[in-house]
């Protein structure tokens, strides 16, 4: 199913550096446009991929918060959080093997590009140094993303950034919008709700829609 994303060699190496300097199990970088996550750009392992996918599916999680509020988000014990922030994301992430999770905004100045995610398979906070190092890696990720985009003409999307774009989800949203005669925005909400209720990833549900194994205009018989 999900493999390690390495469409962007520079960013993949950055994830490895993040794992190293922050002494975490894995790392991933999420790209966003406006407030919308646009998928995971790069990751150090399969669990980090799942973390990005879960956030994309559920619309909540540390990267989305870090990107949205423009500051670092830290949950040193996902199983016993001080404040419940991510009611849907937390149990799914724990099931995937995540015990501590941290999000850092990927930005330069006021330009917000996404977030860096770090996770550990055991609970525990980042030290001050590890936190500071992660912030530097996040800053470098922002510069790397802009540098990639700087290599293509306006209007085009750098191939490295395009490689991780979740095309199938947008295609499915278009199909479901016709099936239900709703806007594509509403169709995306329906897809997310279905994925959440079925305990599946959004991309997997979307693939079923595009392959016509699942349709939303079927009479309600639940199991497709």
């Amino acid at each position: 199913m999900l493999g390690r994303t390495d469409g962007t060699p520079g960013l993949a190496r950055l994830c490895e550096v993040a794992v190293d300097v922050a002494a975490v199990t894995g790392a991933g970088i999420m790209l966003a446009a406006g407030d919308q996550p646009q998928g995971g750009l790069s990751s150090s392992d399969g669990v980090a991929d799942v973390i990005e996918e879960l956030q994309f599916t559920l619309g909540e999680g540390p990267c989305i918060d870090a990107h949205g509020q423009g500051s670092a988000v830290s949950e040193p014990d996902l199983a016993a959080p001080a404040v419940t922030r991510w009611p849907a994301f937390a149990p799914a992430a724990i099931e995937a093997g995540v015990r501590a999770i941290f999000g850092f905004p990927v930005r330069t100045g006021t330009v917000r590009l996404g977030a860096l995610n770090l996770y550990r398979d055991r609970p525990g906070p980042l030290s001050g140094d590890q936190h500071a190092d992660a912030l530097v890696v996040a800053d470098l990720a922002a510069l790397a993303i802009l540098a990639l985009q700087a290599t293509v003409a306006p209007g085009a999307l750098a191939a490295e950034l395009d490689a991780s774009f979740p095309a199938v989800v947008q295609q499915a949203a278009g199909m479901v919008s016709v099936q239900l005669n709703v806007t594509v925005g509403d169709a995306l909400v329906r897809l997310r709700a279905h994925a959440f209720a079925a305990g599946r990833l959004l991309s997997a549900v979307a693939e079923d829609v595009v392959a016509r194994r699942l349709a939303f205009d079927d009479p309600p018989s639940d199991v497709p």
Binding site: V111, V136, T183
Partner: protein
């Protein structure tokens, strides 16, 4: 820019097992310059190295390959003046990593240690990764690209991508085509009507144009 390089040096010193770190970059004329050093002592050694035109950093920049000097005290023949000066300053080993982009070397990241022996392989890998990303950042700064303009272009490109995929999905569902055939139909229609593909897809995606209203695939209208 210098802020970033100082940060890079500090992180190398903190995260890796090195005493001091410095970045040398080639000026537009091709001469190396010391851009940032994590300590005054290292800066003095690096400046000396440039003046003497010998040492690991200079060699690394010249060859574009990493240079590992695991024991500076044993290098009085390879780089006699540099080695003496570095040992006097308290350093015993030095690693110099190229800052490269697409085969072009623009400078070197220099890591000095008071202990003998080069950096361990994982530290070297991490340091080279930091050097690689710093190189990208430096190139970006050199070409003086505005982050806001780039970000706008990135957002627009992503939005176009979203719109095109959504339109493919709508046409696919409405016409019973697979998504690739749907894309062909969109392109076919755009070509026939001299429309920008993104504009056509936006109209389909936001509902302004019915996906069934597209020209059917088949022989082109052109004679």
């Amino acid at each position: 820019m210098v802020d970033l390089l100082i940060l890079l040096n500090d992180r190398c010193v903190e995260a890796l097992d090195v005493t001091a770190a410095g970045v040398m970059l080639a000026a537009p004329g091709g001469d190396l310059q010391v851009l940032a050093s994590s300590s005054a002592a290292l800066r003095a050694v690096e400046l000396f190295e440039l003046q003497a035109e010998e040492g690991p950093c200079v060699e690394c920049y010249r060859t574009g390959e990493p240079v590992i000097a695991a024991d500076l005290t044993a290098l009085d023949r390879r780089w006699p003046r540099f080695a003496r000066r570095a040992v006097e300053a308290g350093y015993r080993s030095a690693d110099s990593l190229p800052m490269r982009l697409r085969g072009h070397t623009i400078g070197a990241l220099n890591l000095f240690r008071t202990a003998l022996g080069g950096l361990a392989a994982p530290d070297l890998t991490a340091a080279q990764a930091l050097a690689d990303v710093a190189t990208i950042a430096i190139i970006q700064h050199r070409t003086a690209i505005d982050a806001h303009i780039l970000n706008d272009q990135l957002s627009e490109a992503l939005n176009s991508r979203v719109i095109i995929e959504q339109a493919k999905g709508k046409v696919s569902q409405a016409s019973g085509l697979d998504v690739d055939q749907a894309f062909d139909r969109l392109r076919h229609h755009a070509r026939n009507h001299n429309l920008r593909l993104t504009d056509l897809c936006r109209n389909i995606a936001d509902g302004a144009l019915n996906p069934t209203a597209l020209d059917p695939l088949g022989p082109s209208r052109r004679l």
